[in-house]
Symmetry: C2
Subunit: 251 residues, 2 copies
Amino acid sequence: MIGSGNVSTHLAAALKNAGHRIVQVYSPNMGHASLLAYHVGAEATDDISLIMADTDLFIIAVKDDAIEAVAKQLVLHERLIVHTSGATELQVLMQATANAGVFYPLQTFSKDKELDFRTVPLCIEGANEAITKQLIELGQTISNNIYRVDSAQRKILHLSAVFACNFPNYLYYVAQKILAQHQLDFNLLRPLIMETAVKVQQQFPAVVQTGPAVRNDRQTIAAHLQLLDDNVFLQTLYQLLSEGVMKMDKN
Amino acid sequence: MIGSGNVSTHLAAALKNAGHRIVQVYSPNMGHASLLAYHVGAEATDDISLIMADTDLFIIAVKDDAIEAVAKQLVLHERLIVHTSGATELQVLMQATANAGVFYPLQTFSKDKELDFRTVPLCIEGANEAITKQLIELGQTISNNIYRVDSAQRKILHLSAVFACNFPNYLYYVAQKILAQHQLDFNLLRPLIMETAVKVQQQFPAVVQTGPAVRNDRQTIAAHLQLLDDNVFLQTLYQLLSEGVMKMDKN
């Protein structure tokens, strides 16, 4: 495992639990490397020149802009190298080696929040058909949702994931801050947040849209904008999102 | 029950299931009134002058801008009247009668999606302490989450609910549309949407924020904006939300 962040932590645990051996964890931060290595029974290192070649696979789970440099240092070991990024083309690895692939778990991971890895969609791409098949087989040991996704599709997936996850979570934050300003408890909103996500598990979002904008309730929208008149940024955001809801294509 | 929309449908069912009798359902649309009345064993009417006084409580669950007019027509029956709106002050009812309250279920309801009403936060306000107590008692028969919330707080709650529910659902829609344009399956995103909501059930959103904006990954943000260059609206939205994430207060 190259990297010891959220993705690496969850992926290493899932692989370990499926019976695979994690040989070594590398991180430039030795504390992080040691902690993850400890949890998965691996060795830890913060020196990339000390990475061991005694493995079938290098999994790069680092920041996007570090993938290329890391891959170039790993290539001398002549092992299969994959990255786990939604935003990075396979081509970035293939500049270093033809023995490359992508193993992208489409989920939001936090180190201290467990989740069921078998439900995580794994998006797989190999530099050739043999690698793809090998990665699919590996993927099936930890997830029930395996998808073949090429680099162009993966970028679209990653973009859509930002809209489906990172931005909604930011809006939860906005809601929580508005409540906190008025000494109201975030627990009041938690069931609402949950139900909103549950609804789209079976249906399409356009079908279950609720709220003043989809009802074109101009009076309520105006009242909300007035409540936000100490915060031009949130006013702008409210207006833009309401405009989007109003233009929603219901079909 | 005055109204036969999403809120009325779920509230009537919850009350009925808790052993209360729904006397009558009014809607200007007789088909809608009849359907809900049928499900809860009530009579239906589309003529507001035929509303029966043989009840302890009128529950107004209609559009915000219709509440005042409906209340004025109900007041001659001299019964307790409540509305179920997050956006409307109690004062709107009190112009018609002092025998008034608010019974606001803070949840997103769709007629054809069941949910566990016992988890729904019920925000209660009475024109006096006796009414408040009476409404709290009624509320406790259908929900475990009863909150006393005054009109000013309720407006804040409603505003925050738009950010926590209506806007995230719109963003799910955006994500689904982006996928559909590229022949990708919305099922790929459903576990991600779910997990994002699950995470904030225990933690605060700022703690679990992920994605390129919170990492200040300018390269990925630029690549996403380029993918959106056929849609200026979504580009603007992406930029504004990313800006918000970057300015997030982690404490």
